[in-house]
Structure formats: structure tokens, C-alpha cells
Symmetry: C2
Subunit: 352 residues, 2 copies
């Protein structure tokens, strides 16, 4: 059973994994990126993953057999386990908790190569629906406090398998970084009586120099205080705190803006490794929080996080977001000249 | 002039660097690690760095000439600049500040290869004295609020030059991660009327399973809630909040425990890339803080930080610190069998 341990100084929780434990002697060797080897996520290899907890597939195909166009399976090497009980305990002055939780993998499509930037928009819509389905299902378990959806693309971003997949972790605590956003946005609300994210959306629209793309319901932009070059945020324009409250017409638009944003990043930066996370409100918030606003953060791994960042928690970003946005839009303009016009309902933001 | 920008949600500051700006088109190419090329830090190349602000050298040698055994120079591509004035301003709802500060590089020795694990203890003592000298000098500038000492060793840790060097950044604000430690330790003090770090030292000594080495005045141990495999902390056993208050006899011991700790990590893990930071009390704390305790954090880069960590701020550590400590001590035991006994004043901790 994995163990959650709390740092007594900062209150930061750490998962000490045992299921995915690594022997110290393994660290000496540099891991090589394997290409073209056996892929447990490819069609035909369904038996090599734990049994699926969800799949979208034609009615004439069987569970854990070929034919699916999307599958969700438990992680074979989970960081947390949905077994036993959630127990808090002490080790002298230290606090710990059993590693209770869930860890699932969404296999985005049968295609081994294509991810958000390349998949048809309809397939990305399916992915969004499946992620929502899992959030709805996992939040039924009352001991879960938070669900984190994230993706590691490429080795530099921590991916150990090539086949495009997104992960879902259900946690017994609200994680620190989300707490910080909740606490910051709640303070802003107290002072201004407005949502800080809604205010940012308005200012970004007025300013315009950091907008990658805008649709009726979504904005894709690079944050004013971006930590990383080409860090990008996708956010619903209307205030909404729960990702899982997304409306059907919004799913269509979110798929379009995701495909375009990820596609531009891929093209402009030669398919960079990246992380992507969805930040949403914790479960136990009652009703619609007036101050928190769900959003997607995309963090390309173009620079190394160094000692200064680890020591201070603040970041050195060598490329201003305005410069990065302009570069991405120039690539978009070239692409649009060569190709068909962008899909209906989606339009590229003007550069003011 | 670089710019400091504040994230309106979390309050996190980011340095948007202009002096070290990178054109977006540069990101497409994967940077290769250069070995054996021209080294601006090697003796004979003194003119290729900005003029030294400190050096330890025989009296018959000249500034910015060969002969030194240790040099401190301003960073050629500084993240912050000690020019102009410190001004806060607004951009609509956003807060920013001029990138005022200092960024220096300590070249650890004329030797291009050797760093803490290999250098003679006397040379490490000189490094500690030089770091202290720079802290004492830089804190004379009243606009500086914090000085961060850190080291990036190897490409995975963000180092762009091979020649062993440690960096010093003086900041106009107290960074977030330090604020978190200050706030956490201050809460603990309010509740317990004891320093949380002093309590940890006592518990680690009683427990013993995470101690790498102990001397009269210092403890080297792996934290209970380690974020990374082989994360190691070196801390003075007696309560002290300022690194720059270090006593002369403590410098001798710190050099010994650093050499041993870094040496074991290098040997056990095939010279891993790592970051190292010194956390100390901000300048404007008056007198000796009863709750903060300076310490060194060593973070080997053995695993990738992935989307889950970025999204949550909590970490998955695949190797429990007790297992990592035992592994390091086994390597130490083998080493001691083969080599001369460890240097005087230093002894390896017993495994209880």
C-alpha cells in the first residue's frame, strides 16, 4: 500500500510509492527512450492492461477486446490504491495517511501516434466526455476530495509510454497547488467581489497580445506571469467552477480549441514534450463557487527547471508570453494560408 | 531590464528575462550537451567573464588573471540586474516590478571536473567562506530582501556550463517557497513553542533510519516526506536562522559533511545531475528567529517531474527515504573498507 507523508514544515504531502517502487540500483543507468517496442495500449493488446473501467465502442464488440475507439483502464502501477481504508496516523511528530485513491489511464484512441493536435475533433469530444464520465463516477466515493486530470507527453514530461494517454488521479486530500489557487482567488473575491479568472479573461480580451484563439465560449491565451515559455491556458469564458458541469455545446468548442492550440504548439515547436492539467473545484465545495473558475494549463518542457526555481518557487521565463503568442500566431497564419479554413465556430484571434 | 510579474491568482512571482531572452525559433532544436569545448570558467579565460567581484588568490597574482583558487563573477546573462531602481507598477489588474537584483557565479576551483564530492575539504571550506562573504556584501544593499544560493549540476538540473560553479541571486522579494517554510515553521512555533527543524533533528536522531552522516555540529539526512529519491538535507544541529552566522569550526565540519554526502551520492548513483539550495532567513527578520533554521537541500534529478506534480504540487517518490539511506550507507561501508578511514571529526552514523 502506498503511503502519504506530510512535510512538517510546509504541509506538503508526498506519495511514497511502493507499487511503483524503484530499486536504488536502477538509478545508475540512464533510461533510453524506447521507440517501436511492444505497446500495451495498442488494439489487440487489451489483455496486457488491467480490465477496462470504461470504453466507448460499437455494441457488437466485447469488453477488453479490439474494436473500441476509447478505453479507460486502472493504471498497472498505480500511485494510489482504491483498497483498504483511509487512515491517518502519526510517526512521532510526522503525519501520514494510507495511500488511498484511484489512478486511471484514458487511452485516447487506437492510434499509436495521434494526440490532441492530430485527432479528429469528434475523437477529442469523446475524450472530454470520457474524462467527465470518470469524474462523475469517482466523485461518488465520498472519501475522495479531489480529482486531478493530467497528461504527460514525451519523456521530458515524465511519460513512460508513447501511446497517447491522459491520466486521472482521485485523491483523499485537496492538493497544495489547488489550495493556493483557491485561497488566492477567494481573497481576491473578498476584496473585489469578482472572480479573478473572469477579470483576467476581460483584461486579456482588451489587451489582446496574449490570445492564441477565441471561440464563443472559450479563450486560449498565454498567462501574463507565465512560468514557462509557451505556457498556455484554456478557460471557459462564462464563470464555472466544475469541469464536470461542462455543457454539450461547450464540449464541441473545447475540442476545437484544444485541437487548434495543441496543434499549433506541436507545429511551431517541433512536437515538444509537455504536461497538461485540468484545475477544477474540490468536491466538497457546496454549489457553484463564485471565486474559482476551472481551466486547463498546458506547460511545454522547453527549458529545465533549475536550482533557483526549486529553491524559491519562482520561475525564470526566458520568453515573454507576448513574444511567444505572436510566434504561434505567425505559424497559424502560414498554416491557414496553406490549408483549408479553420473549422466552423472557431476563429483565430486578431493581433491588435 | 528584466521584469518581475506576479500571478494574480497564486501571488507567485515570475522573472520574465530579457537579457537571457531566447527567440522562439530556437526551441525547435534539441540542445546537445557540449563536452570539451571552450570553457569561460577555466584558468586563462578570465577575460571572457565579467570582471570578478571577489577572488581568493595569492597576493602576487592580479585581478582577472590566472592564479586564483576561487573566483566570483557577475553572471554574463543575469536573471536580474543591479541597475536602475526598484519600481512597482500595474498593468491593468496585473502587478509587476522592475527586475532589480544581483546574479553572481562562484567558480568553485580552477579544476574543470571536480566539485563538492571530489575537491579537498580545504577548498570546500573556501567555497563556504566565499558564499558567506557574498551574502554579507549583498545584504548591505537595503533593497535586497533575500539571497538564494543554489547549484545546478548537469544538464538535467539546468546547468548550461560544465565547469563546477554555484550561483548567488539577491532578490527584492522573499520567494514563495521560503515564505511557505517561514509561515509553516512559525505556525508550529506558535503551537509548540519549539522550532520544527530542531524537533525534526531530534526525531531523526532517535529514529536513525534516515541519517546519512552525523558530526558534532551537523546532520545529513533524508527527509521523512522526501519529494525525490535520495533527496538529502544538511542542517546545523544547534538552532541558527542565518547561514551567514556560521562559526569557523562549523565551516570545517560543513565542508567535511558536504564532501562526504555529495561524494556518496556521486558514487552510488553514477554522478547524477542534481540541484542544491541553501535556505536561510530573509534579511529583514530582526535578530535570531526562534522558528526558522537554515539548511541545505540536495535534490538529485533521477525521476522526471510530471503533470501530476505540476498540477497538484505534491510529489510521487518511488523510493522511500529509508531505502535510499540504507543504499547510500552500504556504498559508504564498501568505500570505507577500501579506502582510508574518513577524515577526523566526521563519523558515519550507525544504522540502528
Amino acid at each position: 500500500m502506498p503511503e502519504l507523508r506530510k512535510d512538517p514544515v510546509t504541509g506538503r504531502w508526498v506519495i511514497i510509492a511502493t507499487e511503483r517502487a524503484k530499486r536504488p540500483s536502477q538509478y545508475g543507468k540512464i533510461e533510453e527512450e524506447k521507440k517501436g517496442g511492444f505497446c500495451p495500449f495498442c488494439p489487440g493488446n487489451e489483455k496486457t492492461t488491467p480490465p477496462e473501467v470504461l470504453s466507448y465502442r460499437p455494441t457488437n464488440t466485447l469488453k477488453d477486446q479490439e474494436g473500441w475507439w476509447l478505453r479507460v483502464v486502472p493504471n498497472k502501477f498505480p500511485a494510489l490504491l482504491q483498497e483498504g481504508s483511509l487512515k491517518r496516523s502519526a510517526d512521532g511528530m510526522y503525519d501520514m495517511m494510507t495511500g488511498y485513491g484511484a489512478h486511471e489511464v484514458l487511452i485516447e484512441s487506437p492510434n499509436h501516434e495521434h494526440t490532441y493536435g492530430d485527432l479528429p475533433e469528434e475523437q477529442i469530444q469523446e475524450i472530454i466526455w470520457a474524462l467527465r464520465d470518470r469524474v462523475v463516477e469517482l466523485r461518488k466515493e465520498t472519501r475522495m476530495r479531489y480529482i486531478m486530470i493530467f497528461k504527460n507527453h514525451g519523456r521530458e514530461a515524465g511519460a513512460s509510454l508513447e501511446h497517447p494517454h491522459t491520466q486521472v488521479i482521485a485523491l483523499p486530500i485537496v492538493p497544495k497547488r489547488v489550495q493556493e489557487e483557491l485561497s488566492g482567488s477567494s481573497k481576491y473575491y473578498e476584496y473585489k467581489e469578482r472572480c479573478v479568472f473572469c477579470d483576467m479573461i476581460q483584461q486579456e480580451q482588451e489587451d489582446g497580445t496574449r490570445i492564441v484563439m477565441e471561440t464563443d465560449n472559450f479563450l486560449s491565451y498565454m498567462p501574463f506571469a507565465s512560468r514557462f515559455p509557451f505556457e498556455t491556458c484554456i478557460i471557459p469564458k462564462e464563470h464555472s467552477c466544475f469541469f464536470n458541469d461542462i455543457q454539450k455545446n461547450q464540449v464541441v468548442e473545447l475540442a476545437a480549441i484544444m485541437k487548434r492550440t495543441f496543434g499549433l504548439i506541436k507545429q511551431a515547436l517541433s512536437d515538444p514534450h509537455y504536461n497538461f492539467v485540468i484545475h477544477t473545484t474540490p468536491f466538497d465545495e457546496t454549489g457553484n463557487s463564485p471565486y474559482y473558475h476551472w481551466h486547463i494549463e498546458i506547460m511545454p518542457k522547453l527549458t529545465k527547471v533549475a536550482g533557483f526555481e526549486w529553491g524559491t518557487g519562482f520561475y525564470i521565463n526566458p520568453t515573454p508570453p507576448e513574444v511567444a503568442t505572436k510566434y504561434l500566431l505567425d505559424v497559424a497564419a502560414k498554416q491557414d494560408q496553406q490549408a483549408a479554413p479553420p473549422s466552423a465556430g472557431a476563429q483565430i484571434a486578431d493581433l491588435h
